[in-house]
């Protein structure tokens, strides 16, 4: 079995959105290595399409990268929360829209070399406006964007958030498969 077995683990930090632990592991070929692991709770992103085939993009300042970027609405799982429930909640909180239908589009590791983060992307349809409820410190601008215009923003490199690129290109790929 090609696995690495934990020898020891030191919890360096426990915080609001992440924890950090530094482990020592035995390698399958013998020898040892240090493994730095950022623990996230996992999260969701929502590709919400309205009746005019526009996708709800948001503009949000991201402190870690020091700029305002385009993203899909997204959020972190609360303790014990199912991803689909989280997706419905975050879509309403960030955009003000309730989705009649939520369907899992894909699930992936954002950075498996150093974090355990799993992101679930949901396709949300049947939208009705119920009004946003932003959390303290959240400043989000919602911009409904024509589907082809959003794909062009990926193509031109204007959308630079990984989960947003994955959501948009996954749906594009499925639609292309459907047309074959």
């Amino acid at each position: 079995m090609e696995i690495e077995t934990r020898l020891s683990s030191r919890r360096v930090y426990e915080g609001q959105v992440l924890n950090l632990r530094v482990d020592r592991a035995v390698l399958p070929g013998g020898g040892e290595a240090v493994r730095e692991v950022v623990e996230f709770r996992g999260g969701v992103a929502i590709l919400a399409l309205d009746d005019a085939n526009r996708v709800l993009l948001i503009r949000q300042y991201r402190y870690a990268v020091g700029e305002t970027i385009w993203e899909l609405p997204a959020g972190i799982l609360e303790a014990g929360e199912l991803p689909q429930v989280c997706a419905g909640r975050e879509l309403e909180e960030e955009t003000g829209y309730h989705a009649a239908r939520l369907e899992l589009l894909c699930r992936f590791y954002s950075t498996p070399g150093a974090t355990n983060e799993v992101l679930h992307i949901y396709l949300a349809t049947g939208l009705t406006l119920v009004g946003p409820r932003l959390e303290a410190g959240e400043r989000i601008q919602v911009i409904p964007t024509a589907w082809q215009a959003a794909l062009a923003m990926v193509e031109r490199g204007e959308i630079r958030d990984g989960k947003t690129i994955i959501g948009l290109l996954t749906l594009e790929s499925r639609q292309a498969d459907g047309q074959k």
Copy 2:
């Protein structure tokens, strides 16, 4: 200006592949927030296509997620290293192939909510086998995979690594645009 201004910064950890700092920031609307930031050096992934239109996928155990996953060859920038140079170096080290041509396919933030990681994905063509040179602790299996089979692995959720999904779907999307 909708930016958050750093008030203070505490360096919690400085490690091999990442650092962690915990800042306090002033929000644009007033008030303060804690911002946990994982600092990465940035990295590259390589979508290498051989003359038979096969993509070089690798299988590698990832300690942070506790499983062996499918990925594109990838690596972390060395100090002062240009991304394109890193891409050529990592492709040779991990797969044993030298690429005559390297072209930037896309560039994105893997997790902008909590890290500053920027990943560059290169399309590599004109491959010649020169022999792999794995680093200590690296155990990598290289599996040339037919292009359509690799896309089907994304579609079925068998490829779960974010950068690998982005590389494959970005090239698929470009090829589809070229056929219009």
